[in-house]
């Protein structure tokens, strides 16, 4: 909308002094070709700049070096993968990732991100984490990388250790399955270290942004903040709607963004005393919000994806989306930032889309 049109639309006289606030348009300039999957892309993680990790409803996890180039396939889940998380990507040799699935297990995988073949390498999980009674919905890794937490339909959040069973003998009972021992790679099973109980319905999303705190969003309409050491919930925010996704970031890495069963992306500031009202509400979507992620460097930018097939980039300072990525044909189920300047998203159309070259200051 040009300034003239704006004045006409708002009925403002041209004589008036207008204060124009300028926010740089943040829009992707490049649309990379889609990476096809066999089924719905239900999870994506772009926290490592070297690769993208996706989870698919056919039970396979995939590692993409770049658009259309799949290097590894994580094979082993018997049901759809619902969430993926990269545990440590700094290590040069092998990268550890975790996947959560509807088959009530989490699996930990190791692979070398550097090696690249023409044919994608099949990877088997080195550790299977069993303990949830219902499908696991979400997984998040601790920043140090030695633990993961998972939220599930059985209303609990479980904490797991990620280290190899060889070095870690005291915590869990280690069973080497005889069937698996015949295989070239051994698989160990892990049990939950502790369980955070408090939600009354499905825990749909967890994040572990700081060393000591876990944030979780649930279908019981609450966002809870957990102390890892004591296992108590420190605070909870009620929103009145079912929540599907949560992320913590922004200014001081303290703002909680969450979306759910309505088209409104809400952002809370837990440091504000005595309030449960969101500080920001963005309502440009037209259906459920499936994912929201803060940009890891900028404290103003975040993205949200929705079942209406759109991914929107937001700036906290404006009420309107900076840009709307309308590349998916159907529901978008997951979205993330990649390398700081790209948006990766996957959806019901079984494509992983990468929109790159976004200049964020």
């Amino acid at each position: 909308m040009s300034l003239e049109q704006f004045l006409l639309a708002k009925g403002i006289s041209a004589e008036k002094i207008l204060e124009i606030e300028y926010i740089r348009a943040v829009a992707p300039r490049k649309e990379e070709e889609p990476s096809p999957h066999d089924d719905w892309v239900s999870a994506v993680d772009g926290s490592s700049p070297r690769f993208i990790l996706t989870g698919c409803c056919d039970g396979l996890g995939r590692v993409w070096k770049e658009a259309g180039l799949c290097t590894h396939i994580l094979e082993g889940h018997s049901d759809a993968i619902s969430s993926v998380s990269i545990i440590n990507s700094e290590a040069l040799g092998s990268v550890t990732v975790a996947t959560a699935s509807k088959d009530r297990t989490l699996r930990l995988w190791k692979f070398d991100a550097e090696d690249s073949n023409d044919h994608p390498a099949m990877i088997r999980a080195f550790k299977i984490l069993r303990g949830h009674n219902a499908s696991v919905h979400s997984v998040a890794a601790k920043t140090s990388g030695d633990m993961v937490c998972s939220g599930s339909w059985d209303c609990t959040i479980n904490l797991w250790r990620t280290n190899d069973s060889d070095t870690d003998g005291d915590v869990v009972s280690i069973k080497k399955r005889k069937v698996n021992s015949k295989a070239e790679q051994s698989q160990s099973e892990g049990e939950a270290v502790s369980m955070l109980v408090g939600h009354t319905q499905c825990v749909s999303s967890v994040v572990w942004p700081q060393h000591e705190t876990i944030y979780s969003a649930s279908w019981d309409h609450s966002v809870r903040q957990w102390d890892v050491e004591t296992g108590k919930d420190l605070s909870n925010i009620f929103c009145g709607k079912v929540l599907n996704c949560i992320d913590v970031g922004g200014e001081g890495s303290a703002l909680i963004a969450a979306g759910g069963s309505d088209p409104i992306l809400r952002i809370w500031d837990p440091r504000k005393p005595g309030t449960s009202a969101p500080v920001f509400q963005f309502s440009s979507h037209s259906s459920w919000i499936s994912a929201c992620k803060w940009h890891d460097r900028s404290s103003f930018h975040l993205l949200s994806s929705s079942y209406d097939g759109k991914v929107m980039l937001w700036d906290l300072r404006t009420a309107w989306p900076l840009s709307v990525l309308d590349t998916h044909k159907d529901k978008v189920l997951c979205a993330d930032w990649w390398k700081g300047d790209s948006v990766v998203s996957g959806g019901v159309d079984a494509q992983l889309r990468i929109c790159s070259d976004i200049s964020i200051p």
């Binding site: 079912v242 309505d262 088209p263 459920w288 079942y307």
Partner: protein
Amino acid sequence: MNHQESQRPEKVNPLEMRDLGFIESGNNDGLDDNHDQDELADSSQSRQAVDESDSSEDEVAPRNTIGDVPLEWYKDEKHIGYDIAGKKIKKKERQDKLDSFLASADDSKNWRKIYDEYNDEEVELTKEETKLIRRLLKGKAPHAEFDPYAPYVDWFKWDDAKHPLSNAPEPKRRFIPSKWESKKVVEYVRAIRKGLIKFDKPKEEPRLYLLWGDDSSSADRTKHLAYIPPPKPKLPGHEESYNPSLEYLPTQEEINTYQLMYEEDRPKFIPKRFTSFRSIPAYENAIKDSFERCLDLYLCPRVRKKRINIDPESLKPKLPSRKDLRPYPVTCYLEYRGHEGAVLSISVEPSGQWIASGSKDGTVRIWEVETGRCLRVWELGEAVQHVAWNPLLELPILAVSVGSDVLILNTGFGNEEQQRKAKELLQIGTPTSSDDSDDISSVLSWLQDEKHDCIRLRHFRTVSSIEWHRKGDYLSTVMPAGESRAILIHQLSKKLTQRLPFKHHGLPVSSVFHPTRSIFFVATKKNVRVYDLLRQKLIKKLETQLREVSSIAVHPAGDNVIVGSKEGKLCWFDMDLSSKPYKTLKCHPKDITNVAFHRSYPLFASCSDDCTAYVFHGMVYADLNQNPLIVPLEILRGHTSSDGRGVIDCKFHPRQPWLFTAGADSSIKLYCH
């Protein structure tokens, strides 16, 4: 005569007199005053002066007393008149003109002399008198001392009386008793004593009175007919005018159509236009009209209609605002697509993670609620009438009615332990049902279905609805055409089937288990029967007063039932209150296909073939004195009609205030709050 004529102008104007040089002789001091009187008779001021001179009247000569008679009468007499004593006053002797002229020429005071004809004397005016005359001539007040601008003196006292017309003091008679009145009183007193005057007797107060009010007025009313004024005849309007506006005139076509109408419907008067008064013909119906009016007045009984003044707003029930009753389903965000025929039935898994649907295309599908992903499909080959999840969380099995079969499917959800139990349950060991009862075995058989790895309950008629008991072991099936064996109850753990041990009345439509007690509801086409399964007897019969019941749902507390009917009416029964509907809601223009209660929120819904679903707030209070509160909340639209059917099934999410609707347009929609 001559003398008199010449004298007259002198008298009028004394100043001229001097000019003319008249000389009057015979000056008489005594006549001065007479002259005065004549000259200044009109002035009240001068009268005083005359009165003063009157005091010296006795000394002066007697004056003429003839009065106001013409002096001509005495012209020829020797006297001029008579004095006060009646003596003649003699005429004075006349000087001749020359003498008088000389005398006047000599006398410097001659100009002041005036001849008084009446008294026949010459009067000499004094200085004061001449001054007076001069002032008069100037038009001033005659006396110099008179002040025309004297200060105003208010002679009346205005303060005492507002109306100064009568300032008279109070007369005395006002203060003294009247003599005549006292006389009259005495007269009356005497008459009373003598008995000449008699008084009316004082009215007696009735000692008995009607305790419950006065009924005399109603008796009065019945005695005679109250006059009811006849209704006024309608006054002629514009169309009855001899020259109505054009819009009142019917066209020829309209007049022709009047001929086709029935006589009663035909308009009585057709407006016509006349250009002038004299062209108006006589009104041919005048006598007929007045006759009919008289006939009406004579024959039509008249009744006074009592109009009650009620504000229509006050008749509306006071309902709370919809905003306060949130949350309730409002918008459709998710759609579950994949079926190829009308979705006939849906059922939500008790945890709310999955939803099962059965369709006319012969498939049963399981969907993930959150994403809309179809997880499993069973091809059953025949239209799926009804699907129902087992209410136990740990028993993930699904009962499906296909034609005359009921399949108990293992959905494959749950952990290994649950799966093992479910599989165990769905194995039929030995067919033991035959020895149970003979009539049952002939109509029903438990079979193992290898293809879908499930139990197949083969009925002898089409099964329309399945309902699980809350403990997940029993399920009831309804075969509308099954006559005495229309409703069967199956026990899954023992693989047993029993007939409902009650006599059936009417065609059963649906059946429900009570959510907490061992009570069983059977909805027939006309009414709902409530049975106690333990004592094996009928507890209640709910009379719906509907034409055809289509669906029934029981409130999770168990005391309230809603019943949907094919005429679009929804009845709410409060079973503690009565066997008649507590409320009947007429919302849908078409058949209600299903009704549903929410498990935890105070919500209920009805869906209909008009492609809408209604959501209501239905609050049931623990206090038995308080009636349930029913508030219509939302109309959910979105489905499209197909094959004359709209929304076929609706179910609430068990934990969220969400509503699933299954439509004939082969889609399932989820409405969220």
